[in-house]
Symmetry: C2
Subunit: 344 residues, 2 copies
């Protein structure tokens, strides 16, 4: 990580996304991510209970580890240069706690979606049933807070409890708005902030706090991450409409079939009266959903959604140099670019 | 509460259970419970999200508030005499956090059981669907930790995160052992400790800690509560077999139909070979379950189970005077009696 601060913010360098960040971060960043991985492994495998393998398998199946990466980079930006001191352990615990909360929500989501596969692995729900999946999610959730109890940081506890409340509220809001004929843009954005951006924000806040960053720096880095998280969710919603299935792992329009009204549909409804009049409840299956996706795409709504996300990222990046001295903003800018790049 | 310490431990006084404790506790205890109720109301109703009424309704539906009562009485035993000072607010928050975790597990249980009614109210799952119930449980859970973040007590955070992990592990263990032909007694007791006793323990530990009780006193009161929780679960398991439905609100043998092997069945299997040979998977419905309950009762297993629970309570009470000076153990002894009385 010691060399990380010198990395430039040239977007071209981010073409390979997170992998290129890992290269730029060098041995130190790789070492930090490996420590997080080890600790995640330990936290989810140590238990007197035979069924905890489900928790273990869930976390082990991996994923991008984007949130732990944000914790590390925020800690680095706030002045944490090593991960082998006590401060380093606080960073590791914060990163693990954030990933555990994220994993808990995935396990719970799979119950509702009756999903059989996640990250290429069978889901807990499919392997052991809904009951075990429910308890596994609760267990991952509890362990996240247990990690913070070890660190002993009340400000981190506050940040994570706010984010985990927000995740649940975002789910409730999404359910409330399911199949709605009109979803105002502000309400859509609020839902994205709750269900996605809040945990991104917590990741950066907790990273900065574990590096003994000032509360105001933690707040500003949190605000940056919140914007990135919002863009991330918008682009995820674009992918649901644009596909292709080889890239997303699910059929186009899966969210639409669930009645979830996302930005592309909101924009398309404004542009095209027949789409505004379409009832999501009338979609009969994958073919209907794909056809609606094509009509949404034809309005240019996908491009406008992407541009909105890009604008949010550009604005978030532009604010960084003012709050981070010494060129410490480079790696965070690259993460912002990586979020966008993944969806090009 | 100021008069509480003088209350004697005569079991006869506890015949009316928790209500008589409230009478003995007087204005101070009633005031404390009312403050907890108000705070629960506030925590679950304040939210920008339209669907939080589910969280609100869940907690509002009430229940015995046994766990909050334990928090208060442990705080009192540890020296907390008022609930209007700062220390008092820490007690209220601890009690609210424990009840929120308990409520979260009830909401999640109702999803799995497809239960329509709980505490005389329609369940979240029945009113708003499984998805909303899942998120509501997660929200209640998150709010519990948010309460502790407000109090700023790491030892309390540790106690609650251990208990909430235990609850989930207990559920997983129960699932693992479902329909098992042999469940060793130790394993059954371990499950009870995880799914019930751990939260009782956390309640007393957190109460003592919020009254600035010493860590060793918190530990000893926690141990007392753990024993009471174990007895509580055993007696609950007896009720599933003994009924009657007017008292339990569910048909006898409901747990057996779910494949849950409890103490009465474990004892009956030892005493009667035909019961040991019976396969719970072969139970076809309520009539089969009721017939098995009658066969279990005929072995005397219910009486032995009750006696085991009573012995645990007696032993737990006997240890109290040594750890609590000044006759401060009286109210906790009454709670122990109330747990037993409810099941006579």
């Amino acid at each position: 990580m010691r060399g990380a601060a010198t990395a430039g913010g040239d977007p071209a360098q981010a073409a390979d996304g997170i992998e290129s960040i890992m290269q730029l971060g060098g041995e130190s960043l790789r070492g930090a991510m490996a420590r997080i991985e080890e600790h995640l492994e330990r936290v989810t495998s140590e238990s007197g209970v035979p069924l905890s393998p489900h928790a273990h398998a869930t976390v082990r199946a991996g994923g991008k580890r984007l949130r732990p990466l944000l914790v590390i980079l925020a800690a680095h930006a706030a002045g944490e240069d090593t991960l082998d001191a006590d401060g380093g352990m606080a960073v590791v615990r914060a990163a693990v706690a954030v990933e555990l909360v994220h994993s808990a929500t995935l396990v719970h989501d799979d119950i509702i979606d009756d999903a059989d596969v996640r990250r290429g692995q069978p889901t807990v729900s499919a392997v052991a049933g809904r009951h075990a999946a429910l308890a596994t999610g609760d267990l991952l959730f509890s362990r996240a807070f247990a990690e913070l109890a070890q660190s002993g940081s009340i400000p981190q506890l506050r940040a994570l409890s706010i984010a985990s409340s927000a995740l649940a509220e975002g789910e409730l809001l999404q359910r409330e708005d399911a199949y709605a004929e009109v979803v105002p843009l502000e309400r859509y954005l609020r839902r994205c902030e709750l269900k996605t951006a809040a945990l991104f924000e917590a990741a950066c806040r907790m990273g900065a706090l574990s590096a003994a960053g000032s509360p105001s720096l933690a707040r500003e880095l949190g605000h940056f991450a919140r914007r990135i998280g919002l863009a991330f969710q918008i682009l995820d919603d674009v992918l649901d409409v644009s596909g292709p299935i080889e890239r997303t792992g699910k059929a186009p329009g899966t969210d639409l079939l669930d009645g979830t009204v996302t930005l592309p549909l909101i924009i398309a409804r404004e542009r095209e009266a027949t789409i505004a009049a379409a009832d999501l409840r009338a979609l009969r299956g994958a073919d209907d959903a794909r056809a609606l996706c094509e009509r949404i795409a034809a309005t240019g709504a996908l491009q406008e959604s992407r541009e909105r996300a890009m604008d949010i990222v550009t604005e978030a990046k532009a604010a960084l140099p003012a709050i981070l001295p010494d060129g410490r903003s480079g790696m965070l800018e690259l993460v912002a670019d990586a979020v966008v790049e993944r969806y090009r």
